[in-house]
């Protein structure tokens, strides 16, 4: 019966005009389709009850008006009717609870996963660690600031695009271990029907098995501070061969990065690189011009740290400041990036200390 309902409603589910989408996505996994069917089942039960109740009500409103000469009757109790309309909804509810519980049990079965990925929420980005592969990277919003500030036309994936998407293989059971580094976040991909809170200090589990390769987009769904609206989730599902190739590429890249860290950079190279890192990583709080937000995020311009001892400056970038939004960036940024951004902050944004630091001097 739910199948028939789904078919009948496929018009609503897959609208031609995506902008006026009115219903939930059916999704791309067995679980997400189960959830969708459940959603439609309950929706139609509500519609049926609504038609019955509002039908009687509007019939009464039109039929029993004083202006039409209606005279009120005097009854105001009927035990049979009252018992009936207590028992019947109860039975309907049991009908809803049975399939709902079955779906819930499927969702909670995280056993026998093929791939394990730890997902960590940060203010305001996601970190993906492949537990069996030694792959570890951060995923940041890649929508340009100009589009958000309306200085540029918005692209089709506005706010739903990242620099490094999570990559998973198709047709494999992928288990997610979800946690957070600072505040509570929530990791959601509507097409997988997976939404789990990322809670600092605790690990939640969830899983997905996607049949078809493709790109699926979602967002953080737990208010996590200023840029809660700007930390999307993008998952790229690749075929098994493509996934294996991607894993190999990631490992090769990691080796290349390690080589970079021992190179010597000129001041100009560091400043140029540092500007990019600053805008992507620091400007969210400290602002593009380095002025910060008074009372919430301190300024870089003229700050005692950015104009003081360079070791202290490196230390706060590498290790963060406990109890504040200032994170430890040692895991998020490479030694090259940290050297570049520290040099940039000391010699730009209105500061001109004049010193610089090489990647090889960054002690992580």
């Amino acid at each position: 019966m739910t199948k028939a309902i789904t078919l009948a409603l496929s018009l609503l589910a897959v609208p031609a005009w995506a902008d006026w989408q009115v219903n939930m996505n059916e999704g791309v996994t067995a679980i997400s389709r189960e959830v969708f069917d459940l959603h439609m089942l309950i929706f139609w039960i509500c519609v049926a009850i609504g038609i019955a109740v509002f039908g009687v009500m509007f019939y009464s409103i039109f039929k029993f008006r004083k202006s039409k000469g209606a005279v009120a009757e005097h009854w105001h109790e009927n035990t049979t009717v009252e018992v009936l309309w207590t028992v019947i909804p109860f039975v309907i509810l049991i009908g809803m609870a049975v399939p709902a519980t079955a779906t819930l049990m499927d969702m909670y079965d995280t056993s026998e996963a093929d791939v394990d990925i730890q997902i960590t929420g940060y203010q305001w980005k996601w970190r993906y660690q492949y537990l069996d592969e030694d792959i570890d990277f951060f995923s940041n919003l890649s929508t340009p600031r100009e589009e958000i500030m309306n200085a540029q036309a918005k692209n089709a994936n506005y706010l739903l695009e990242v620099d490094n998407p999570l990559v998973i293989p198709a047709n494999k059971k992928v288990r997610f271990l979800i946690t957070a580094n600072d505040v509570i976040h929530s990791w959601w991909v509507p097409h997988f029907a997976v939404k789990k809170d990322a809670i600092p200090g605790f690990i939640n589990e969830s899983w997905v098995k996607v049949e078809e390769p493709g790109v699926y987009r979602g967002q953080c769904t737990e208010l996590c501070g200023k840029d809660h609206g700007f930390m999307p989730v993008v998952v790229e599902v690749k075929s098994e061969e493509d996934y294996a190739k991607w894993v190999a590429d990631q490992k090769a890249m990691k080796l290349a990065m390690a080589g970079e860290a021992s190179k010597q950079f000129s001041m100009d190279e560091l400043l140029a690189k540092g500007e990019g890192v600053y805008q992507a990583t620091c400007a969210g709080c400290h602002q593009l011009n380095g002025q910060g937000i008074p009372g919430a995020f301190p300024a870089i311009t003229g700050s005692s740290i950015a104009t003081g001892s360079i070791d202290g400056h490196i230390d706060i970038v590498v290790n963060g400041k406990a109890g504040t939004a200032m994170q430890a960036f040692k895991e998020q940024l490479s030694a090259v990036d940290i050297a570049a951004v520290v040099t940039y902050q000391r010699n730009a944004l209105g500061n001109s200390v004049g010193d610089m630091v090489q990647p090889s001097a960054i002690q992580k």
């Binding site: 959830v35 004083k66 909804p89 600092p200």
Partner: protein
């Protein structure tokens, strides 16, 4: 107890039972009169409704189009937080307390509230609570920006410094609510007119009696949770900090143990109001009075065992999810009974459609729609898709705006002639109703769609596919917001001028409040009436 005189020795009056109000500002500062205090609660609530409404319009203006146009994300978060706090604690709750102050003594034939001085105190601390809360907007770092649910650790370790002021504000509001609730229970249990047994009480009084018990049960829990926050922030405890052995999810459990009954605190008195208005304008007794009382009582009891349905995504064990899903679904049964009873009251009645009745009918329809989406949200596996999206925003605005707020407006129109002694301006009332009705639906119905399509709540900017419905919602919000000016104008006009109202006011009205003249004298039922 029932015949305590409000005899003030310093008042030199021939008849101390019928002296008028004191003159000047002192009347309002020192009053112990339930009608004066009721009016102050209602006016205060209207002011808060407008302030919270302006915040809502700032939110909707920013969301009119994708991109950031008007406000910074941090200020946007302050607006969503303050809008929620002000509407819940400043607009809806004080409005119901105001109505209780005015109507409960008049409905049960009591001369005043049981504890008049405490009544004055519980009102007068409220403006200070909200001054503290609102002043945080001007503090360095800004106002609270962690949502009205203030989940830790965003509201502790990562909060702006103004969070301490927020905590004290909440403490004061809580104290006010607890005192108000004690007063209402004491009044209802001790001061009913001879012959008015519990099962003869008007529904509004009944729902408030139950609501008052809910308040006493959960406001201390709210005070507890904000105190735990205070300890975490300033005194080095780690209730909600995993690094110190605490648990951020503990916050949510404690908060929602308060929060879910709180939701019913905001809707049970509305049920009472609607149960008064529909029989009046259907000219037929309320269908199933006793089942209505039992339904309210069972909703109140169930409200204590469903709190974790707000937390289906925190990673509870399977058995926890199943328990809270079943318990939540169960609430649909007594709620359904109420709706069926209202419809049965209308069936074979003799209906007219004055402004209070229009609001009451809209309440039944739109609250039921909010109830349906509530039932959908109760289904845990489907809730994973709905949770923290605009579908939830649509749901709770349907039960709170055309639910609680419409019931308050219905009550205002229904009892205003009794308070001011002037008949309503029906035309203006109907204009206000239709503008509000259309505005509310244009605002909140599209939110179901964007929520299902995947738009999270509490975001200042959104992906392009949500743009059309969001601009629609913003237009609706401005229609709804500005149509409240008609309401305010209508009230002011009604206080000043208008055709003289009779004691009966509405043809089909029954109850003790309609036996006293309009406007109700400063002191009513100094001699208790007899109820058969």
């Amino acid at each position: 107890m029932a015949t305590v005189d409000v005899d003030l020795p310093h008042v030199k009056d021939d008849d101390p039972h019928h002296h008028g109000p004191a003159k000047g500002l002192g009347r309002w500062l020192f009053t112990t009169n339930h009608k004066d205090i009721g009016s102050m609660y209602l006016i205060f609530s209207l002011c808060m409704f407008m302030i919270g409404g302006i915040m809502a319009l700032i939110i909707r203006a920013e969301l009119f189009q994708p991109g950031l146009q008007l406000v910074e994300p941090n200020f946007f978060n302050q607006m969503t937080t303050m809008h929620g706090l002000i509407m819940v604690f400043g607009a809806v709750m004080p409005a119901f307390v105001g109505l209780a102050n005015w109507m409960i003594p008049m409905q049960i034939g009591a001369p005043d509230m049981a504890l008049p001085r405490m009544n004055n105190w519980s009102f007068w601390i409220l403006p200070f609570a909200f001054l503290i809360l609102l002043s945080s907007l001007f503090m360095p770092g800004g106002a609270p920006n962690f949502g009205w649910t203030f989940y830790a650790p965003l509201s502790t370790t990562y909060a702006p410094e103004s969070v301490t002021f927020f905590i004290f504000g909440v403490h004061i509001m809580g104290a006010s609510s607890i005192m108000g609730a004690i007063n209402i229970i004491a009044t209802i249990l001790n001061m009913r007119a001879p012959g008015m047994t519990l099962m003869k009480m008007p529904m509004f009084t009944w729902t408030w009696l139950i609501t008052a018990f809910l308040l006493i049960a959960v406001m201390p829990v709210l005070a507890g949770v904000v105190t735990m926050m205070l300890m975490d922030i300033h005194f080095g405890t780690s209730f909600f900090n995993a690094a110190g052995g605490g648990d951020p999810v503990l916050f949510q459990h404690v908060f929602w143990f308060f929060g879910h009954p709180e939701v019913y605190i905001m809707i049970l008195p509305a049920f009472g109001i609607i149960s008064e208005i529909i029989p009046t304008f259907a000219r037929k007794r309320l269908f199933g009075y006793s089942s209505m009382v039992y339904a309210v009582a069972s909703i109140a009891l169930l409200s204590f065992v469903v709190w974790a349905h707000h937390m289906f995504t925190v990673g509870m064990p399977l058995v926890g999810e199943v328990f809270f899903m079943f318990a939540t679904m169960l609430i649909a049964v007594p709620t359904g009974v109420k709706v069926f009873n209202w419809v049965a009251t209308m069936f074979r009645g003799s209906m007219t459609f004055e402004t209070p009745m229009l609001f009451a009918i809209a309440f039944v329809v739109l609250f039921t729609i909010g109830g349906f989406s509530g039932l959908m949200l109760a289904i845990a596996p489907a809730d994973f898709q709905y949770h923290d999206t605009y579908f939830v925003v649509a749901h709770f605005h349907y039960v709170l705006v055309p639910g609680a707020i419409f019931s308050i407006m219905a009550a205002a129109y229904y009892w205003l002639p009794k308070w001011t002694g002037h008949q309503l301006n029906e035309t203006m009332g109907k204009v206000h109703f239709w503008l509000s009705f259309v505005g509310v639906n244009i605002t909140f119905f599209p939110m179901h769609f964007v929520g299902l399509a995947g738009m999270p709540r509490r975001i200042p900017d959104y992906a392009l596919q949500f743009a059309d419905f969001n601009s629609m919602a913003s237009v609706g919000a401005f229609i709804f917001g500005f149509s409240q000016l008609v309401f305010i104008y209508n009230i002011i006009q009604n206080v000043r001028v208008g055709e003289k109202a009779t004691a009966q006011v509405w043809e089909g009205a029954h109850g003790l409040e309609w036996t006293v003249p309009s406007p109700a004298p400063y002191h009513t039922f100094s001699t208790p009436p007899k109820v058969d």
